[in-house]
Symmetry: C2
Subunit: 329 residues, 2 copies
DNA sequence: CTGAAAGCGCTTACAG
DNA sequence: CTGAAAGCGCTTACAG
């Protein structure tokens, strides 16, 4: 491996001078030139970990997501990496599988300066482990500390879904969700949905399938059971189903098709996220599309500011839009 | 930050002794106990980057993929991370966007011991930058150096697709692909497909939509155009379409539906990858399913062996299977 | 403007 | 068995 010492020797200057060239500090033009050629000739590149050990900075950021199986998380990580790379940071990915220990391990890495900051979609209770001074951006969730929280406009999302059902004449709708109740922001999806429906005289109920965050096979089975038991006189009692994610919506759609219920004629479905089939095809279902790229930009933007000790607003809410995926009229 | 020095002071021993406890070397039981309590009390954790600087190892591995938008890559990274975490490695994700410079940056990181090894799905010509001694596992691609290459059984995949078309009475089939021709392994998909078809007396042709690796909007348009021009007397001239990925197959399916061609009655479609809608629903199309989790395990297994200077076989080929996604009879 | 030296948090021969 | 010291590749006061 070629070190700064090799470059210094080749250029006939001290390591300090090489370091100054590396860090764009003033060096006599003549020396700078010699150093630059030496760097070229030797193919030298700084060891950023040694740099980090010294500067207590690693130019590495970690993103904590439950997994990359859910395309929403995969897309988010995709864009986060893209934006981070553009500003010179690397990305460590931690799939927490909603395991608090794994999340803690990364928080500890941050405390020890092994990563400069964290972006997290977390569902576990880690309030007490966070410290006010570690750069941390949360998605969809608020913490005790005034930590920057980036989210889509969940309130607006709920309203848009409600309005769609109202406009198309639904009379009895339901909101289906599951997942942690810790995520302050996402709870607004259902809340505003119900409020708007009720205000318009549409009967709206909610169904919570528990705290588990990923939609396991068992969870899906519960939803199936629920749908099977929601039939009266051969018809589904609901004519509009809004779900907390597209994955839920796809499961609902599949079950209803199996039950020979026509979509969108008999019942309409709206998911949340705005995912496309294989991320390139049509929208999987009608949905509230989150601006995932803008969310990634907002996260990175806030995090880098925090790393650089600049002031950061403590909440960013980005607009959503309704997208037609064929499961609405 | 709590360092090894703090622990040593608290335990009343030298830093060397603490280090030995950390590395499971022999320490007098009494001292070991004191160190362990000090570690507990202070909440100390080693700084792995300092460790790495010293040991020239970082316990960090990088995976280079074009992006995480294609669910196949996202799933692969998902499992790679999972398996790596289980053996104590972190994962740096590099979305190359098929940009050779980005790939090189990570190869250089490996050369400088900033990552211990690389797993790569690469489409650029980086043979010359690789060195025989950096731990490197390639997916679907062979290099000049005898680098470990993990792939699904592309040959078998092509045969399975061909056989399905043969068994269901197809008379005129086509293989549609695009992407780099550098990827030795994936070319076998089309090759064995054509061979098996021809041997069975089924007319088989191939259509290559160029070197670009991601299926851009323009690429999709070209495929659309091609399909539009493949109609004679109101019917598609092909009755079986095999594509190099599921993303291609989904595009083909959408276009054909728009053209009012019945699938699978008039034409059958088989993709490659075996992806499900939102990774949880039904198979997006009939397909040749890659054992993505096993591939991740094989990659990590080989890479860790290389890092530990153990011998590694230079090729791993994992079996595929046909999955029915409704686009075949 | 530049060089010599200290130190970031570790590990590992080397004494003792 | 353990401690003191050197050194991994850098940066940054501090002299000069």
């Amino acid at each position: 491996m070629i070190t700064i010492r090799d470059v210094a020797a080749a250029a006939g200057v001290s390591v300090g001078t090489v370091s100054k060239v590396l860090n764009n500090m003033y060096v006599k033009p003549n020396n700078r030139k010699k150093v630059e050629t030496a760097i070229q000739d030797l193919g030298y590149q700084v060891n950023t970990y040694a740099q980090g050990l010294r500067a207590q900075q690693t130019y590495t950021v970690a993103v904590i997501v439950p997994d990359l199986v859910n395309p929403f998380f995969a897309l988010l990580v995709n864009y986060v990496e893209q934006v981070l790379a553009a500003v010179g940071y690397r990305l460590l990915v931690c799939n927490s599988h909603c395991n608090a220990d794994r999340e803690l391990a990364y928080i500890n890495m941050a405390k020890q300066n092994k990563v400069d900051g964290l972006i997290s979609i977390s569902y576990s209770n880690m309030d007490e482990y966070l410290e006010a001074d570690i750069p941390f951006v949360s998605i969809d969730r608020h913490f005790r500390y005034p930590i920057c929280c980036v989210s889509s406009d969940n309130d607006m999302g709920g309203r848009l879904a409600a309005q769609k059902f109202i406009d198309t004449g639904c009379r009895n709708v339901i909101y289906i969700r599951n997942g942690s109740r810790l995520l302050g922001e996402t709870l607004k999806r259902g809340k505003s949905f119900m409020e708007v429906c009720e205000r318009a005289g549409v009967n709206a109920s909610g169904m919570d399938f528990g705290e588990e965050t990923t939609l396991t096979r068992q969870q899906i089975r519960k939803i199936y059971d629920f749908l099977e038991h929601s039939v009266r006189d051969g018809r589904l009692i609901y004519d509009g189903i809004f779900t907390s994610s597209d994955v839920h919506a796809v499961a609902v759609e599949r079950k209803l098709r199996d039950m020979n219920i026509r979509i969108p004629e008999d019942v309409q479905i709206i998911g949340y996220d705005g995912l496309r089939v294989l991320n390139t095809g049509d929208y999987a279902v009608s949905s509230i599309a989150q601006p995932v790229k803008d969310m990634a930009v907002a996260c990175v933007d806030a995090l880098v500011k925090m790393i650089e000790k600049k002031p950061v607003e403590d909440g960013v809410i980005l607009p959503v839009r309704f997208v037609d995926g064929g499961t609405t009229r």
